[in-house]
Assembly symmetry: C2
Homo-oligomer: 206 residues x 2
């Protein structure tokens, strides 16, 4: 029943399913199975079926899953059956990389604007964007109705920027600064810190 609370760990796997399915679609595949999907992702077939069954019956016994249909359904579940405008704060290497990144198309996102507080950067262009003054961050994103942000400023600025974003109506933050940020419970936050991933692997190296 989709009325029950869905575990967050299940939500965390759906984007992986979606990415693999979209890859299969690019390979002109029409049908897949929980087994094939599981092999590609290193996840058990039973778990994939269980996860999907929390949201509905998307497959056919004896046949498997129709790839375009399952893509559509997962996109609806994750609310990426639309394009979300995203703001980037910080126009250094990471921020400019994100502003130019081609990988958001077909994933449900589009960078809409980029901010920095450095007077030397404000007004300059990155791709098609003009770097805006982060002094006006809250007001500008509120007017634009932006709900999603990526933080790419130095760690010392990250909490302040997060506060401004939340003040401006942002509901979800992807933080590239290598520091924990406090946000109210209704705000979503995720982190990207390559050192964290690397340290998780070195444990297994001699």
């Amino acid at each position: 029943m989709s009325e029950n609370k869905i575990p967050d760990i299940v939500i965390g796997r759906l984007p992986l399913y979606l990415r693999s399915l979209q890859r299969m679609q690019q390979e002109n595949r029409i049908i897949t199975s929980s087994q094939e999907l599981g092999e590609r992702l290193g996840i058990s077939a039973a778990q994939i079926r269980k996860d999907l069954s929390l949201f509905g019956e998307f497959g056919k016994q004896g046949t498997g899953y129709n790839i375009p249909y399952l893509i559509e359904k997962i996109q609806q579940i994750l609310h990426v059956d639309r394009v979300w405008d995203v703001v980037v704060v910080g126009a250094g290497d990471i921020g400019s990389g994100l502003a130019r990144y081609q990988g958001f198309s077909n994933r449900g996102f589009r960078v809409a604007m980029i901010f920095d507080r450095d007077p030397l950067k404000i007004g300059a262009k990155i791709g098609n964007f003009i770097i805006q003054d982060s002094h006006n961050l809250s007001e500008t994103i509120r007017k634009a109705g932006i709900k999603i942000a990526m933080i790419a400023v130095p760690s010392s600025e990250a909490q302040t920027v997060a506060n401004q974003l939340i003040k401006g109506g942002v509901r979800a933050i992807l933080n590239y600064a290598p520091i924990s940020i406090s946000v109210p419970p209704h705000i979503q936050i995720q982190y990207i810190d390559p050192s964290i991933h690397l340290q998780r692997m070195t444990y297994y190296l001699e």
Copy 2:
């Protein structure tokens, strides 16, 4: 007892503990508690004590944990009480960003070389690095004894590059290409894909 198998989910939290502890150290703090650390990270104090107790007794009853001492111990556990050379493959926006990234120092890593297959890029400089021809990838990293790699090439090239890296002796891969890669069981792999993180959050937005 440290002879028992440690759950991978615990290993995944240790880098977060380490990052927060290093932040506290920068704030000139000497002592912390499982409660304070938990509040900073949004993790229960009991879980932090349980995790650490899998590796030894690092605290003092009634007092808490000595920050420099606990940092040292976690660094030893994660094998980041040294500096690992890392290779970057792909000299596009992401790869060059990684080559210039200042955030690896004090975290146990140092970018040692960067490769690309584009003749227009080979020989050019990024920061202090000269972009090398990825035709020689396996041999060069084997000679240099490099065990860790970051992949920042297009998705269509990622599996091939991973195979070359493994052939060259790499044991841990951080993959920025938005695609699942197959590796043998003794190879560590981690993924960074901002769209995956964003999609995980949009589920909770209307």
